[in-house]
């Protein structure tokens, strides 16, 4: 049973095709991660699932039906940018958002979530007094407080410190454990790798990856070497069989030409420097992302840490 079934959906804005002939199925109770470069079509897809945008062609079934307004009550939504009434008090606001979803027993659930996310002391404060991270947590509660069967989170970890990231991550896992389906978009590949049952990547409106992490990595094979040497990246220049070096400072990630033997790489590096660590691995999601979204995104990736 799938919670969401997207069939050959296309959505254009003027001359721009935001989503192009997309088909996707999200199984019930799964965590589905949406990744893709900025402007790839993630948010448009999420908004179409939410029935905020209507596709130009194709069908979207949620809970086996095409959405007709009230169907959205079973979906919790955290938009990419925070949408909170600044002048309202936190508890009032959460109850109001819950009421718009026809939620039951909201007072109790709001208080439980506020306590869970360490916001009880802010319940009667105005939203405008909250920090960015706190606002993010309030927005998260707004998405989940009505106990929806599907939650859609558009970049839920943006602006959160590691402690709060963990809090939200645990909350998402707990909600999933209760049978709720979770779809979220993220730019954090580590989070996607660790949390998602399925990963979907969209690039220029088209689906380029869809499946479990293992299945996706299997497509690429074990073509990656993670290596630490005493001379860092200097010792790794111009090696045979290496297409690309990702230099992370303390660690370098080498992408081998398909079919090349890692033993030969090992031998070549030993002849140049002392090796402190050597691992033959499947490519990380980050690397796969960069390979697909290159060349534009590849430039940016050098600066990023994994």
């Amino acid at each position: 049973m799938n919670t969401v079934d997207i069939e050959q959906v296309t959505k254009t804005f003027g001359q721009v095709t935001a989503v192009d002939n997309l088909s996707l199925s999200v199984p019930q109770g799964s965590i589905y991660g949406f990744i893709g470069p900025n402007g790839a079509g993630k948010t448009t897809t999420l908004r179409m699932i939410m029935n905020i945008f209507w596709p130009d062609s194709g069908t979207i079934l949620v809970f086996g039906e095409e959405l007709q307004g009230a169907g959205t009550d079973r979906i919790g939504y955290l938009p990419e940018e925070r949408g909170l009434y600044k002048k309202m008090k936190v508890r009032e606001l959460l109850q109001f958002y819950g009421e718009l979803k026809n939620g039951k027993g909201l007072r109790r659930d709001v208080d439980r979530w506020l306590e869970r996310l360490d916001l009880s002391n802010w319940a009667n404060k105005r939203v405008e007094t909250l920090s960015k991270g706190m606002s993010q947590k309030v927005q998260f509660i707004a998405a989940v407080v009505s106990l929806p069967d599907l939650i859609i989170l558009d970049e839920p970890f943006t602006g959160l410190d590691p402690v709060n990231t963990d809090v939200i991550r645990e909350a998402i896992l707990e909600i999933r454990a209760q049978g709720t389906t979770v779809i979220f978009s993220t730019h954090d590949m580590n989070v996607a790798e660790r949390m998602c049952d399925y990963i979907f990547m969209i690039h220029k409106g088209r689906k380029v990856l869809d499946g479990t992490l293992t299945a996706i990595q299997d497509e690429y094979g074990s073509d990656t070497i993670r290596i630490r040497t005493e001379d860092d990246a200097k010792a790794l220049q111009n090696l045979d069989g290496i297409e690309k070096i990702n230099d992370f400072g303390q660690l370098q990630e080498l992408r081998m030409t398909r079919g090349y033997d890692p033993q030969q790489v090992l031998a070549a590096v030993i002849s140049r420097t002392r090796i402190t660590s050597f691992e033959v691995a499947r490519p990380s999601l980050h690397d796969i992302f960069v390979r697909i979204a290159a060349p534009e995104a590849e430039e940016e990736s050098h600066a990023q840490d994994t």
Binding site: I52, T72, P79, E81, G83, Y85, Y97, L100
Partner: protein, 438 residues
Amino acid sequence: MRKILRLARREYRASVRTKGFIIGLALAPVMMSGSIIAMVLFQGKVDTADKRIAVVDRSEVVAEMLVSATEARNSAVVYDQESGKKVKPAYLIEVIPSSASDPAAQRLALSDRVRARELHAFIEIGSEVLNPGKDWEAARIRYYGENAAIDEIRGWLTGTINDYLRRLRLANTGVDEEETENVLAWINVEPVAPVSLDKDTGEISEAQSTNELETIMTPIFMLMLMFMMIMMGAIPLLNAVMEEKTLRIAEVILGSMRPFQFMMGKIIGGVAVSLTALSVYSILGIIAVYRMDVVDKIPLEVLPWIFAYMVLTIFMTGSGFAALGSACNDAKDAQNLTFPAMVPLIIPMFLLVPILQAPNSTFATGLSLFPPFTPMLMILRLSSPVGIPGWQPWVGLAEVFLLAVISVWVGGRIFRVGILMQGQPPKFSNILRWAVRG
């Protein structure tokens, strides 16, 4: 529907709970009727500094009279009889012998004294004022002052001098003094409303005198009330929707309800705000009318019409303002759109006078049946003591209802697209396209 009402309740609370609403509620009537109140408050606050006026009397019959007339006036009105407080300026007449040789030089010298503030003004009385028919040019009376055109002393002088000259002319023709009073008697034409037959007693009612209060002030006040309600309920929607769009609140709301429900919730919230304010004003107004015992002067029967028109008008204009708000991307866009959007609401203000003068003219009837103007102009005509045909407010109401339905429908189409559209300027062509395509 439940969601619409929940959103409306939030809107209502967000507006009504603020200090701004309470202060606005108290201040709005003051601002709107500010000039009237200021006039009443400052009526007695006239400049009481004495006014010295020079008189050059070439006729040689007026100056002496003026001296005694001003003395009589000064002793009668300058000091309040009871409190002894000075309430008006005294007029001090300085008679200047007329210079026959060089009147122009004399005028200049006196004008210099006016400019030097030694004199308030000077008056030059022509030689032939007693027999103006002989030579009108020589019979002119000129009042030279810095603010001569609107100086009230000029009015007093005109009356006093002419009254005296008429008496003098009559006396010269041999009419005795007693008869003069009769000849000069002045009778005002009094304004009264048409009489009607009392169905219960079968008697014809006594003529009711009318005054400015009921013919001008009350209708204008009722129109202002209508305008104020629209200001409170509909116009803020433009900014509110723009803010919800820019703060991305709209996206969260649209995750729970359709754009049309969203817009309706906002409008119903606006209606509730205006209903609250109008109810407060109505209750206070009715109490005041009974306390001041002017029930027969104030057409309280217009109130239900105001309520009915107001509700429909807020749907009509509110949907327009909400739609425009949805097209805006920032406060500047909203600011730019607010005034043009308000023009249809302001135009009726400029039509006040001709409509009040002839509430049943084709002009007045036609304009008040033009739906964008109907709410305000129909209320204006209904509040006027001149009765208007009974079918007109009903037809007007039906028209406004129809336009409100159309406006909500079109507004909904614009809102649906505009609220999620980022970066597109709120150009007329864009808005029109969204309205047509939906």
